[in-house]
Subunit: 478 residues, 2 copies
Amino acid sequence: MSKEKKMVEDITPMAEDFAQWYTDVVKKAELMDYSGVKGCMIFKPNGFAIWERIQAELDRRFKETGHRNVYMPMFIPESLLQREKDHVEGFAPEVAWVTHGGEEELTERLCIRPTSETLFCEHYRKEIQSYRDLPKKYNQWCSVVRWEKTTRPFLRSAEFLWQEGHTAHATAEEAQTETIDMLNCYADFCKEVLAIPMVKGRKTDKEKFAGAEATYTIEALMKDGKALQSGTSHNFGTGFAEAFNITYMDKENKPAYVHQTSWGVSTRLIGAVIMVHGDDDGLVLPPVLAPTQVMIVPIAQHKEGVLDKAYALMDGLKADFRVDIDTSDKSPGWKFAEQEIKGIPLRIEIGPKDIEKAQCVIVRRDTREKQFVPLAELSTVLARTIETMQRDMYERAKAFLDAHMTEVHNYEELRRFSEEKTGFAIGMWCGDEACEDKIKDDLTVTSRCMPFDQEPIDDVCICCGKPAKKKVYWGKAY
Amino acid sequence: MSKEKKMVEDITPMAEDFAQWYTDVVKKAELMDYSGVKGCMIFKPNGFAIWERIQAELDRRFKETGHRNVYMPMFIPESLLQREKDHVEGFAPEVAWVTHGGEEELTERLCIRPTSETLFCEHYRKEIQSYRDLPKKYNQWCSVVRWEKTTRPFLRSAEFLWQEGHTAHATAEEAQTETIDMLNCYADFCKEVLAIPMVKGRKTDKEKFAGAEATYTIEALMKDGKALQSGTSHNFGTGFAEAFNITYMDKENKPAYVHQTSWGVSTRLIGAVIMVHGDDDGLVLPPVLAPTQVMIVPIAQHKEGVLDKAYALMDGLKADFRVDIDTSDKSPGWKFAEQEIKGIPLRIEIGPKDIEKAQCVIVRRDTREKQFVPLAELSTVLARTIETMQRDMYERAKAFLDAHMTEVHNYEELRRFSEEKTGFAIGMWCGDEACEDKIKDDLTVTSRCMPFDQEPIDDVCICCGKPAKKKVYWGKAY
């Protein structure tokens, strides 16, 4: 068996053990490593570079829509966390507590932010006096800590990286518009950059954010048929404003509470990319996302002129593409395998014979499709291939999602779905939390969201048979 | 008194009380706010935008020189922190300790990173096996915590933002080259972007980083004549490698310890910019750094055509400049004062008479110099003015630095310097820590650094009169 073959075969096939495949890919693609602290991971350069691309693309979108970045402290005094009742109940059981600074015991414990609503509220209370101060549209990029018992790289860890947007508005309408706009911003970004189609909808009250009036979510379908909650956007109404006394004087000079939202996505999106696009040979990155879009592999690089030509290609491309070159002393086959494991979307092969013919070979990571391309047309063909590949990857993921939508009309059908199928089950619900609980306990599927399209498919609840109020997507979730 | 006048007069004059001036400026320019947690500050949008510009400029320089970004956990287990003896002694007294996760007490305390040498060492120990794995050149942007008793915005706070580079090399020479290259990278960045001249040199052993073989520093001179340590670069030799057992097999297949460096700058640089360039009217940002370089203020904006023209100007400029427009309903005088307090480098005024003459007015923040500029030449003139202003700001700061360099030849001269003068005193030193201590205790000046130019100015120590070994810059420091 060749070394190259061996390298890929170290990845457990997806069909054999999906969880192990995932773990193998994150390690083999050198995205992360485990640290000495339980539940905390190390982002290695390849993994962090993906996050930097996500940050750059999202940050631009946030700023274009009038949001400004800030940075709040990582500590929340215990008394501040307790200000909003639902919020503290939701988060207190899973926070890390700082009790000592240097040699001294603190007079009040500080938790490390699991999310920063309380800090933003405290700040907004001071900053907002008049309607002229509204809206406030802030965002921050930071790390947060939630003391999780079971952790998995990128999907769930004690510390993770994310962004959290926090806004305050004069009216309920404005806050609702912001909540939905940011949900759509996330979904559009996931489509355009990550090539991932999202199911959008509202969370049930049981699943909503601690302290929110309404939580909206984007849910993606992984290749194992499980759903991954990939981003959320919350409308807080005036709940936090009342708890923190954030008021403003309106145009009639009357005091009123502000209406607030928050929204966030995290490094979990990297997990989504891996499980939506990856294959048995490793990671497959959509070209719009990929930190390196094109890897140049010189063939017979010891021969005169090959390296010069390969570097010249790179110089010609680097203004328009994120391009790298592998001139290590490994064999071309080994280099191909590495580029494939790391999910670099396109490979250019160029050797003496290609140079003679003034051509090179382009290979797509997703389809393995090879093209011989005249060097004079390389830049044009690359741009077109990137566009096609990005679209193809999205469409394949969309087709997979569409093929995993199952209507269920009664409990028996939902039971069969949960035992035999994966993906989303679309079924009606009476709105009673008891039915939601029963389904979760019996069938291991949970309500993922109530889609915006609420066109009913039945008139009774799949669980209890009483009149239905909501159409719900049900599924197994990460 | 006009409102505009009043707004500026809320800033305490520098000459009256420099510390209060500083506090007034950071508040009035809306750079930061205090948080409910002692010693932790909030970066407001104007302040964070400056940090984002610093990040963008430095990050580009790091990547161009082959460094890659990673992210390590924020927690360091107590046992890991203790691995390197000098390091733990230096940092343990000022770290924050996490003792509880959720409801449970941890079996081992975790400190929140005050700096991440120990985490990088632990990772490098696993990652590095062969000379082929070297060099490793990693960097991370993160927040760190040091439990400081006395805090000041940007200069010293319990939590602050920074970058920390950590590298591992095969040879001592390579590590030393990296250490000096990164010091120069910082100094060049400070000159080109922050318009701040830096004094460069090596720290004495007393002042070096806990665990380093040698620490190099860049020191800037504030307008009150005090020095601000603005960035450091450390050569660790093999000290950490020995403590953490980081070895590699060299080309002869023999095991050897790696040679390591680390280097960092923080949000303290924002403090440097304020205190090097600010004036009694507020902040003055160098145009290469400024998040907003140009503020357009329409005059008589209610008159027909003014706003249209002002927006058209902005549209024409925004591809090449970071430009904004103030169309609020405040008076032009109020807008001028705000732009000046916030330190926006250039202001464009445009009103009906200007439009008639197809011109506008450009006003420089630093000199208040006014230019009438034909609209057809606006872009060219702006570019030129930005270049001139950046250079002028650097040269003024450089002239101030040069004017505050005093040679001292004996203890009496150093004493007089410390009582009557500010800036740097250049004097010889025997190398004995006792002399360093005596000077610090008696005269409140400390050794800032030993400059690279070691051309002696005397042959005896200014303190004890014994033979001198080193030329040292002494000064009062933040």
